[in-house]
Structures are given as structure tokens and as C-alpha cells.
Amino acid sequence: MLIAIFSDIHGNREAFEACLDDAARLRADRTVLLGDYVGYGADPAWVVERVRGLVAAGAVALAGNHDRALDRGDEAMNPMAQAAIAWTRMRLEASHRAFLASLPLTAEDGERLYVHATAAAPESWDYVTGAAAAERSMRCTPARITLCGHTHVPALYHMAPDKPAVPFRPVTGIGIPLLKQRRWLGVVGAVGQPRDGDPAAAYALFQAETATLTTMRVPYDVETAARKILAAGLPARLAARLHEGR
């Protein structure tokens, strides 16, 4: 069973479509969405409708901090993200917001735990940006494999029994067997706003039988996505950073 995992789509229709097409071409059987469907990008309504359709067809979808901020606000967010959320609120129908509000923070699937930010405290929205944070998350769940997003930078951490977690930077397209004798935490990169210097959209494939995780990168129409952000009157920086992948 091949599972396609998408995180941090952030209203970027062009990037999401390119990733969905890529996963379909590779015959992924299942879809997991790790949250942050809105914020930053110019097509939040389209993305939410697409996610709703995927969930109706059996996909697992979680909530991210941007999705939750629609209803509750989030003082921890930077002003640019706040502005994007305020703009997004006006673009979504009540049914979109009800759908997003209904999404859970975590989901378990066999030996895997899905969560947007960290298993240590899902609603703290703390970032797993290093081995210490990865270890905290891994020690807070019995699941052998944790898959999360939120940082917009693909990463992988592994931890042997009674040892500290060790970071690894996955190589695009190279499958990594998540060996049984240790625990693993995979950070899936962002579909809609990559921040590791590569503007191509990121997602991950997980082959369940062999427990193999592969980081994927998909080039997409950045120009159109950026142009729409400017046309919508969103902060210009949100368009520029798509070109840079920062």
C-alpha cells in the first residue's frame, strides 16, 4: 500500500494540483493530509473543497495551526500570517470553516502517528526543527513512526533504544527503509510554500509493506501562484518567497 502524504498546502492550488497528479501517476492508494490548507496562498476555498472531496473518498485529514486560527485567532502568528488569515476568512463559506473546524489534531494508523506539528503537545504548535524537539515528540507517542509537517523543511530523525535522536536530511527520490529496531520521525516538506531553498512543491510517499519513506519534489507553475497572490492584494513577500523557496 502506497500512501501519499501532503502537508502545508496553504491555499496554493497550482502546487497542490501538481503534487496530486504526481502521486496519482505513481499510483498512490491512499491520501493523508497533515493540515494547514489555508493561509498565505490565493486559493483557500478551492483547496478546502478539494480536501473535502478527498476526505469523502477516504483520505485522512488533520487540522493545522492556520486552519484553527480561522476561528480562534492565534497571537503567536507573525503579522503577515495574521493578515493572510484575515483575508482568508472573508473568502471561505461557513461550510468550509465548519469542515476545517471538524478536523482532528492527530490520527493513528497501525504503527504510524500523524500530527501537524509535534506529538509532544499537538496544540502547542511547537516546531520540530532539531534532534531535541524530535526526541521529545518521539518519547510522547507509542507509535514507532511519526509523520508531521509544520516546519516546511523535509527532515528525518531516527532513534535507537536508549539513544538520542539523530537528524538526517533526506535526498529527494531516495526511499529510506524505516528499520524496525528503531523509532522514526519524518517531517514532510510543504506543498504550498517550501522553505528549504528549493521552490519545487514537496510531499512524501510511504510504502507501508516495506516501511519505506520517500521525499518527493514536484516543479509547478510558481508564476501563476505568485501572480494570484499579488492580484488578491496579499503581502507581496508571500509571492516573492514562492520563487525563492524561502
Binding site: 528525518l156 531516527h158 535507537a160 533504544p161 539513544k163 538520542p164 539523530v166 538526517f168 535526498v171 531516495i174 529510506i176 527503509p177 528499520l179 524496525k180 529496531q181 528503531r182
Partner: protein
């Protein structure tokens, strides 16, 4: 559980035959399986005993992760594996014969035999490095040989794949390797440099050539001595070691990875063509460095931190071997000039590249003794002189260029064989102008394009009436400056 296994047991569908070996970390069993007949196979079962550290488990995990990704004649073929859920094992092809371990008892060996073994092991190493893997525990007991002659590297328990997580990176604070063979940077905990394997190869060659180990078999803190104390030159221990072999061995044993040969392919090339090894001060060295030098190195070494070496693939790509197949026929002078221009451009882009200039002396099919008589020898020498003359305008230093005149009735076949054996990364070959005969028989260049194991650039001289080639005048070191 491993200790309770016995002959006749079935493990993961494999039937256990003989218990071939029981070491500290693993047991080896011969096994059979109806689906894998008639491949001879062994099963490696890690020994994890109560109270033991995680060494056996991690080494097993590393091998379980890396072996399935490897292919080719220089590694055992992977068949199956299972994790610790039930009984952990790896099944792989069984290689007959023994490792290079018994060869140590025969040392010192004749220099030619040292070179032959060394070239075979270097070839296997280069193949491994091309597959993104550093062995990091190369030693005679980890090298087997196929009946067909290829060296086969075994035991990847300490290896590193540069596209996969290094499960050993932060597991241990001790240097990982085997004391006599471990490279200085590995002693410092750096597991990222493919030239660490060349250091271990140098230790093996030293041992085979002299009968003794360059750094003995030290323990604990003594391991660090190799960072500042160089070994006795091999010729001091065995005067029968020729200067070229001492040159290659001491180059591999340099404490700084950057001072060793850039790739295993270059070591193999040197060992296969001793007459073309450029000799430096190392070749004639008669004693170890003096105390002042050693003290200076020691001072430098105590402050040394492991450096971040480039990834294996990038490292290999930065030191390619370019082969120029040079047509020296008098009526092909323009083509030879055009070829030199292209080679100059390739070398300018790749400052780490080495150039192999190759010409084929076409022999009659049945003239077995060609080259034995005086006329044949003089023709061979003349071609070599012409080949060097062709390359002179490139202004390359001796370390960057080698020359070979091949004798064969079939030029394309000879060039392709050379390209394979020398691990050539890029062939530049001229195509003569079209003719009826060539259309009928097929040209050398088109066969090379079709069959080469690497990149090929086909060069043509412009037809008369077109603009001539404007090659700049000879500039010594032009390529080096361009880099």
C-alpha cells in the same frame, strides 16, 4: 535465539545446512531454498546476547539497509532479510574460496602480485563508491575473489551510504574500524570521505609488499599516532619493492585525505600501468620524517577537527577520467586538432579531471607476435612519441595525463575494453569523414557511441570550405588557470 539454531532448521523459508562460522557478532550458515536454486547462499544471523551492547544490532541494521541497494560483481548478491520481530537474518550469495586473509602469510609478495591484487580491490572499491557507499572497514578478511577474478567486498556492518541515514554516526564515541587499517580521519570520527577506503587499501598493499603493518596493531589512544607519524618507507623493509609501488602505497597512506589519490579508479589505473606512475619524493624516500616534522604535525593534529567532506557522488564527479581516442593517421591531422580543442574545453570545465590519451596500433588478426620484433617495438615507441606530441599543447602536468598505445586488430574493441578497465567517465573520439566503406563496415566512433559504458563526445573536422578551427596557441597551465 541465534545460539539455539541447528542444521536442518527452517528460518524464513530457508533450510539451514552447515554452520560455516561463528564470530563475535554473527553466525554464518549455508542455506537452501527451493525458489533460489541453484544459487549457493549463506545466512548471516546476528548474535545478540544478554548484557551485550548494541554493536551487533546496529551493524546488522546497517548491512540490512545497504546490501539490498548494491549490485554488480564486486558485492555478494542480496537474496532476503528479516528483522528482529522473529529471527533476524540476511541471506546473500555464498562466495567460494577464501578471503585475502591467508595471503598475509605469504607476504612479502612479488611487486607484480601486489599490484594485481591492489588493482582488483581498487576496482571493486570504485564500483562501491559509485553506488554511494563507503566501506569503512576494508581489510584482507573482508575481500573475497570470484573464480572469474573480480574482487568482492563483504561485510558492510560499518559502512555508510551517503543517501541514507548513518545509523552509526552518533551511536558510538569510539573510532569505528579495525585498528591496523583505520584511516586517521575515521579515528577522529569522520565517516564521510571515500578516501578513507584508499588509506585502508594502502595499509593492505604495504602489508602484502613488506610483510609488516605500517602502523602495527595499536589499541586505544595509540590509534591517533597515524595522524602525525608516517610509516617506514616500504623499500626500507623490502628493497625489492620498486619505486612506483612505494609511490602508490605512500600516497594512499597520506594522513590528509586531500593528499591521497582522488579516487580508487586512479589507484587502479596507476597499479595497472606502473611505468606511467609519476614519481615524487615519496618513491625514493628511505626514512621516516624527522622529529621536527613529526612534532609539527602533532601540534597541527591535536587541533584538528573532522572536516565535512563532499558527498561521495560529488567527490567522484569532481575527479573524472577523460579518455581521448586519438587518430594519428597522417591524413587525419585536422581531426586530431579538432579533438584536442574539445579535450581542452572538457579539461577547462573539470579542473580535477585526468586525461588518458589512447591510440590503437592496428595489427593483423593472426600476427600474434606483433610487437615482439624490432620493427613492431619501434612502431609502438613512435606512436607513443606522437601521442605525447599531440597532448603537449594542452600543457598538462605529468600527474594529470597518461598515455597508452593499444595493439589490436579491432580498434573499437580495444578502446572500449580500455575505457571499461580504466573506469573512464567520458570518451572523446574523432569521426572520420563519411565514406562508402565506412558506411558498409560501420565506423569505430559509432561502435563506441553504441557500446561505451560512459559519456561519449564525437568530434568531427569541418569539411573544406567551412571556417577552419581556430585553436589558441599553446599555453602551459591553461587548464589549471581556467579552473
Amino acid at each position: 535465539m541465534a545460539a539455539r539454531l541447528k542444521a536442518g532448521d527452517e528460518v524464513g523459508g530457508f533450510r539451514l545446512g552447515h554452520n560455516l562460522h561463528r564470530g563475535g557478532m554473527a553466525m554464518l550458515w549455508s542455506v537452501t531454498h527451493p525458489d533460489h536454486d541453484p544459487l549457493p547462499m549463506i545466512m548471516k544471523v546476528p548474535i545478540v546476547e544478554y548484557g551485550e551492547g548494541p554493536g551487533a544490532i546496529v551493524g546488522f541494521e546497517v548491512e540490512q539497509m545497504i546490501l539490498p541497494r548494491l549490485c554488480g560483481p564486486h558485492v555478494p548478491r542480496f537474496v532476503a532479510s528479516a528483522d528482529f520481530t522473529d529471527q533476524a537474518f540476511i541471506v546473500m550469495e555464498r562466495l567460494d574460496g577464501s578471503s585475502l586473509l591467508p595471503v598475509i602469510d605469504e607476504a612479502p609478495l612479488a611487486p607484480e602480485r601486489v599490484a594485481t591484487i591492489g588493482a582488483e580491490v581498487a576496482t571493486a572499491l570504485h564500483d562501491l563508491h559509485r553506488q554511494h557507499v563507503l566501506h569503512l572497514d576494508l581489510k584482507p578478511s573482508n575481500v573475497m575473489r570470484r573464480a572469474s577474478g573480480e574482487a568482492v567486498l563483504i561485510d558492510f556492518g560499518l559502512s555508510r551510504h551517503d543517501q541514507l541515514p548513518d545509523l552509526l554516526a552518533e551511536e558510538f564515541h569510539l573510532p569505528l574500524g579495525t585498528a591496523p587499517y583505520i584511516a586517521p580521519e575515521q579515528v577522529l570520527g569522520d565517516r564521510t570521505d571515500p578516501r578513507s577506503d584508499l588509506f585502508a587499501l594502502g595499509v593492505m598493499l604495504y602489508l602484502f609488499a613488506t610483510g609488516s603493518r605500517p602502523f602495527g596493531n595499536p589499541g586505544g589512544r595509540q590509534l591517533k599516532r597515524r595522524l602525525w607519524r608516517d610509516p617506514h618507507p616500504p623499500r626500507r623493509l623490502n628493497p625489492a619493492v620498486p619505486p612506483w609501488l612505494q609511490e602508490v602505497i605512500l600516497a594512499c597512506l597520506e594522513a590528509e585525505p586531500g593528499n591521497r589519490p582522488a579516487t580508487a579508479a586512479q589507484v587502479a589505473l596507476a597499479l595497472r600501468h606502473p611505468e606511467q606512475v609519476p614519481l615524487t619524493e615519496r618513491a625514493e624516500r628511505v626514512r621516516r620524517a624527522g622529529l621536527r616534522t613529526v612534532a609539527g604535525r602533532w601540534f597541527k593534529a591535536i587541533g584538528r577537527e573532522p572536516t565535512t567532506a563532499p558527498a561521495v557522488a560529488r567527490h567522484l564527479a569532481s575527479a573524472p577520467i577523460i579518455m581521448a581516442a586519438v587518430d594519428l593517421a597522417p591524413d587525419q591531422a585536422e581531426l586530431a586538432d579538432a579533438l584536442r580543442l574539445i579535450v581542452r574545453r572538457i579539461l577547462a570545465i573539470e579542473p580535477g579531471a585526468r586525461l588518458a590519451c589512447v591510440n590503437v596500433l592496428r595489427t593483423a588478426r593472426l600476427a600474434v607476435e606483433f610487437g615482439e620484433d624490432e620493427q613492431g617495438r619501434s612502431l609502438h615507441v613512435r606512436r607513443l612519441v606522437e601521442l605525447k606530441h599531440w597532448a603537449r599543447p594542452l600543457g598538462l602536468t605529468d600527474e594529470r595525463v597518461t598515455y597508452a598505445v593499444l595493439e589490436s586488430p579491432d580498434p573499437a574493441d580495444a578502446l572500449l575494453t580500455y575505457a571499461r578497465q580504466a573506469h573512464v567517465d567520458h570518451i572523446a573520439v574523432g569521426a572520420r569523414a563519411a565514406s562508402a566503406v565506412r558506411r558498409f563496415l560501420g565506423s569505430t566512433s559509432s561502435r563506441i557511441v553504441a557500446e561505451a559504458p560512459c559519456n561519449v563526445t564525437v568530434v568531427r573536422a569541418r569539411a573544406p570550405g567551412e571556417a577552419p578551427w581556430n585553436e589558441p596557441p599553446a599555453e602551459p597551465q591553461a587548464a589549471a588557470r581556467a579552473g
